[in-house]
Assembly symmetry: C2
Homo-oligomer: 143 residues x 2
């Protein structure tokens, strides 16, 4: 590969990026899994630049759909995700990151995992019930 001052051109040349079946928005859903416990921590999204940045930094970097920009996980909270390995599924349209989760907290609510609402049945009713403990108050995390 020739040196090139235009980073976006460099990204575009990477065939591993071309292999991903990006959706119509140029995004792919990404599952982050704790490499130690096996817990599923969160689901977020990446575009080409986010996946390239994740590989360059070894820290999970997502595309924030709400903020419309790259979002290095933990940039504010310190709860970065160090990447252990990266996998692509059989349809090339979903990514799995196994990570070491700094602070043991992935969720902005201060919980280990974002998937803390369990579907519970009571009589005829079903409800999502917060079922995992808050390990650190969001006020403490975000100041």
């Amino acid at each position: 590969m020739k040196p090139d001052s235009d980073n976006s051109t460099l990204i575009d040349r990477q065939s591993y990026l071309d292999d991903v079946a990006w959706d119509e928005r140029g995004l792919v859903p990404v599952i982050a899994q704790d490499a130690d416990s096996g817990a599923v921590l969160m689901l977020a999204w990446m575009n080409r630049a986010a996946l390239a940045a994740t590989l360059d930094s070894d820290c999970a970097t997502y595309w924030s759909r709400s903020r419309g920009r790259l979002w290095r996980k933990g940039e504010t909270s310190g709860h970065v995700q160090h990447v252990v390995d990266i996998r692509l599924d059989c349809d090339n349209d979903a990514v799995l990151l196994r990570v070491t989760q700094a602070g043991g907290i992935a969720c902005h609510t201060g919980r280990a995992s974002c998937f803390y609402q369990a579907l519970e049945t009571a009589g005829d009713e079903r409800n999502w019930v917060a079922s995992d403990p808050v390990l650190k108050a969001p006020d403490e995390i975000y100041g």
Copy 2:
């Protein structure tokens, strides 16, 4: 809840379905995780009817985007997913199913997990490399 012959009306009345932040297509991404091993098996999609059908049957039922219809996982292969529990994330826009995977095979390629392509680096190149064994040939699975 009053009896009602119109099943779609019944589905619409379920507030746990209203709590999900369905996307502009009426879908939500769903992660299936093996309840025993913790392995992430696949990522698929559900609409309201798929989530309701999953709860009614205790077997994972997805919305097939390619076929445009409900797809009871394992309906052809026999590799059904018995649901152990269902969780929703902090933004209400992703679902996690913990399942018991019949046959120990989730992938149509005959592998345990759909996430069998690992990103490997060799010199300047990065490539997705099939890294998990085929447990059963697709010909045997699908006849």
